[in-house]
Amino acid sequence: MSSKESYRVELRSAARQLSDRCLYSAAKWAAELLIDIEPDVHAPASSASSSAASARATPSTSSAARPLSHLHPDASAYRRRLRSAAASGDIAATPPAGVSYISTPVPDDDGFNSDGGNDRYLLAKSYFDCREYRRAAHTLRGQTGKKTGFLRCYALYLAGEKRKEEEMIELDGSLGKSDVVNSELISLERELSSLRRIGSIDSFDLYLYGLILKDKGCESLAVTVFVESVNSFPWNWSAWSELQSLCTNTDTLTKLNLKNHWMKDFFLASTYQELKMHEEALKRYECLLGVFRSSDYIQSQIATALYSLRELDEAEVIFEDLLRNDPYRVESMDIYSNLLYAKECFSALSFLAHRVFLTDKYRPESCCIIANYYSLKGQHEKSVLYFRRALKLNRKYLSAWTLMGHEYVEMKNTPAAIDAYRRAIEINPRDYRAWYGLGQTYEVMNMPFYALYYFRKSSCLQPNDSRLWVAMAQCYESAPLQMLEEAIKCYTRAANSNDSEGIALHQLAKLHGVLGHSEQAAFFYKKDLERMEAEGRQGPNMVEAMLYLARYYKSEKKFEEAEFYCTRLLDYTGPERETAKSLLRGLRIAQTAFPSMDIGHFGS
């Protein structure tokens, strides 16, 4: 049995168990992954070659695995031996990065005491599937089995959640802030905590218990409980993602005491992504891709990471691929739409919007995609309408709040924009785009000093983003503040962190020029010129740079360089050309006036 086979066995059983407990999204996730495992080829030789191929395809696959497969043509036999070792509680499967995985036995489903219990379970599950949660819970009252116990609690929890949502609408409108709590939390917490105390709690109960604790705000305990849950049953992706939502910084992440199961890699990758450690996330995902070759999930995560790294073209290719494989996919398509928005692909975005609209128009992602399209078309009112719909469907949809804020800024409705951004920050205080948006809003309101606070916050969260530093510099540079020294500092940071738009270099040159630091100014103009040449751009900035350099070199008596820039300027039309001509004339006179210097210059 190959490791893939063992993955398959694990996932198969897990998906079944999860769906028995009505944990549908986790079951869906497991089932998707099950399909995505690269099909085993039964002939041992081809198996080896396929694993070699996989190693080739993903260069980051550990170097340890490759020689092994060469040494042992019968890799599966080797793995079988490993597997038998794992039975004694040690290593399982080939660890991709030289780490050993711990195998977790798939827990047996508890049998039912009597047929009657099973019947009740069937009835309750049907109720549950029909979304009659309270009825399901009622049917299961007094049942002692683990599965039925969990289902009862979970049904109660969901009933409370449903009521909570309703109340929220009743009390405040769907977008209002509200303090409504799930009324079942207290009794459920009591029950589950006593179960945990006597030790008869299983991983699913633990997951539910964690959910409840998180809702109640006991986050540290919730983390412990989730860790317990995933350690005993690692295939519950919902538990992992709850855990991930609680890991808001690397410190908590490193402190987690997690067993080394392969699911942990998924968790780590997605958490890295959330913590903006995109490079690390990419690395992990590429490892995982070695096993789950055709996983759409991993592909979409990779594409998202690439998008966050501003590798738009690569990400687009992946997204297109994804959509080709799975035309009815809605998940993470909002990222794709953001990408298309950034690339200003009108037709592709409209095509995507149409597609998701037909698939399921009442998904927050769909609304967001449509809103993006309208925004790109400049119809901001409509865009806001769709963002609001997205937020009605999911109030915690972070990026929708931020994007809606952007729309409000476009509409010059600053109070609404500020509100939207603040809501985003409320959901995730580390969302640098919302802070940035707030800063921009205040800048629009002509309050640069006030805006500085927000830019500072956002650049603190995303220190390597040149746009944020440029924004801050522009504040300092603005007419009311005129703090040029500080502006220069910010532009320097921006220039150092790969300023793709090239504003920083130009502004640096300009500011140094204003402050009379001609040497630095010339340096930056030259750099800017080089950059523009490398990117093959033209424009007024180029002319400005050349003119400055020509004048600078003239004043520095470096006539040759001055002449070089002047002649280049002659290629352009406009007043600069005339200036260049007169400069050239001046240069000639100067050169003839100081022949000795001229000679010395050529001599050197």
Partner: protein, 884 residues
Amino acid sequence: MPFAFQSISHHHCLGLFLFSLTRSCESFLDPSLEELLNQLKALGGLAMLSEHLISNLLVLSSPDDLFNFFDKLRGVLAAPEGSSMEEEQTLLDPNSHLGIFIRCCILTFNMLPFEGVCHLLTNLVAYCNSNDSTYEMAEDDDFNGSEFHELLEDPEVYCEAAEFEEYGLENDAQAAENLTHIPSKFLSSFLEDNQASDDPRIKHGDGGSQSGGLIPLLNNNFRTDDNLGVLRSRWQIEGYLNMQADLLEKDAISFPLYSFSATLRQLQKLAPELHRARYLQYLNALYHNDYLSALDELHCYFDYSAGMEGLFSRSPSPSSEFEVGRFETALLCLGTLQCHFGHPKKALEALTEAVRIAQQNNDDSCLAYTLAAICKLLSEIGISNMTGIIGSPYSLGTTTGLGTPLSTQQQLLVLLKRSLERADHLKLTNLLAFNHLALAKFDLKHVKKPLLSFGPKASMKLRTCPTSVCRELRLSSHVLSEFGADGLLQLNDTGAFSTSWLKNLSAVGNPWLKKLQKPRSLSVNDYDTFQFYAQPNPMPGSVLQLAGASYLLRATSWEHYGSAPLVRMNALVYATCFADAASSSELSLAYVKLIQHLSVFKGYTEAFNALKLAEDKFSVSSTHIRLLKLQLLHERALHRGNLQEAQQVCDQFGVLASSVTGVHMELKTEASLRHARTLLAANQFSQAAAVASNLFCTCYKFNMQVENATVLLLLAEIHKKSGDAVLGLSYVLASLSFCKTFNLDLLEASATVTLAELWLSLGSSHAKKASSLIYQALPMILGHGGLELRARANIAVAKCLLADPSYLVSEDPDAVLDPLSQASEELQILEYHEMAAEAFYLMAIIFNSLGRLDERENSAASFKKHVIALENPQDEDNLPTHGV
């Protein structure tokens, strides 16, 4: 009639109680049922009422009962005029406070959707259940436990209660209050649904700004939460928050940072649309010197409220006249925040931006406030040169249009005048008073020079003008007296009276409770003293504070002009009359002045005793008190000759000041002044002179002219002691001219004494001149001078006489002995060993020449005692340990 009142007064009492319930703001939660019943019991004689309240709660078990209840409630209100009234029933006037309250309740109920009614019912049950167990203990009556589950209040009670006279039947207030909690939520969501979906913010703001009577009440006020108690009306919550803000300012230490912010978070959770709680969070962080979270909360508050709530709505001027809101207020607050934390440059940037935005938005009142804030900043923080700090002088419009750059002081004056004008124009009484005070401060310390630097110069006498200081001070309190005249008083109804009334009620109800309450030093106010017969102070706290500030400033100005009795009087007036409204730092300042007075006139023993009392009253962390302690310790150490200790204290002084330039200027000046004096006492003349001249340069740079006079005098003293009398003369003369310019009479007298001493040290030929100088200064010294100065003058008088060749000791010994003995007495009180020894030495010599040997021996013994004490300062270490 279900119950009868024993007397009219009971009836009134209940009316007052209900009224208070709807007005009090000691907490943001409604009292629980148990508390309510206890309060009712405390009223006395109303046992029937609580029984009814409880026994009739049964009725409301289905939504329909609620509908019936409100129908009956409507019957309680008097019909509009003209309709006939039944004879014995007195109905509630619909326009009275309670009438409006009930009408609000009914209206909100009528607008409820069915879900709302259900919520209401659940919450009522929860309200009753929350204390059914405790309830049994509280009441002796024999209710069944089962009944408690349905303890709902009954309209019957109230309908019948309608026989109340003027207060009418308001005890459904409580019921009604409960009933209104959720409704408004629905109402607001309903309103919001009707709004165009794209702009919740603006619409909301509009609704708020047209705040007529009912709308604000209904808009957001009542909410409830199953677990966290029942919220009061918006008005009451705001009252609560304002009250907490006042208390915070008064005495931040009594608010533990975390627990108070937890309370506020609870409130935020209960009423997320009430952003003022965030402002309180900001204040909380500010007063606990938590820079980062203060900054965060400030931005958070203004982002959420979009500047719409406005901060000045609590100022007693009618809010309709001016709308200060939006983000200029945010900038103003940011400026004051930065100023508070000692970032003058950032503060100025923020305030200039505030000026710009206020001008842009035509927000005149905010502009006036901002200008005042800039003035405060400029006057407090040493800025030698404005250019480069404010981007361009034009941004503040402070150029005279003549192109001449203005000095900081001139800019300050221009700004002050502008702010004053604006405040006057806008009728911002508080600001006007504040500006007058600021002008008085300015006049106290600065010579007004003509702004024009050319043209015909009017004959100017370059002196400060005490009359103008006096005028400004008078004007400032005069402005405040307009509060009574303008009928602005009713705006002052902050519910404080109702709050204290209820508080006292519970105190009366359980006398043991009162004892349990830890008496907080500062919360002792009129209410406690007079129980609930007390009338609340009719003046708003802010007005009182400003009025008090004028007295403090008076005390300070007399300190400058040199009248000790007047300093004492004004400080006393402040400490006795304005203690309630004063913040703890200002109050401690008044105490400091009083104690300083004690130390100068009564010696250190008494001063330290008083200091101990003050330390008990204010917590140790009060900066004023801490400084005072250091001052006293330093003075005493210097007098006793304990130079090591003096140096230590001096170093502690230096540490207290922030290291940022321009901040804590006064503290820094004082620290180096004391350093120089310590060095002088140690006879390190050149070092002392170096420190002093350095200080002079600083003072000159930052335009601190008044301090210059002191520094120059110190330099003169240094040269006198080092024996360079001629050099000393020039310094003392310079100091004298400064004193004259700024009317520093007492300092002038002291400088005159120094001058006389210098002349004397030049030789006996100058004795005549010296003595005439001293006699000139004597009236001032004897009238206002402290022990040390008097003693110095007395010794100088004696020395002059002794040096005078025309004076013979044998002829008139008392002429020298009297001043000397007086000086020695005073110096003994001060424990000023060095000078006391000198006095005794002179006395011994005189007695010797007179042949009065016994007295000579006595004086000599005293001389010896003081010399020994001076040489062994550590021996008298009975000083209190100074663990500052």
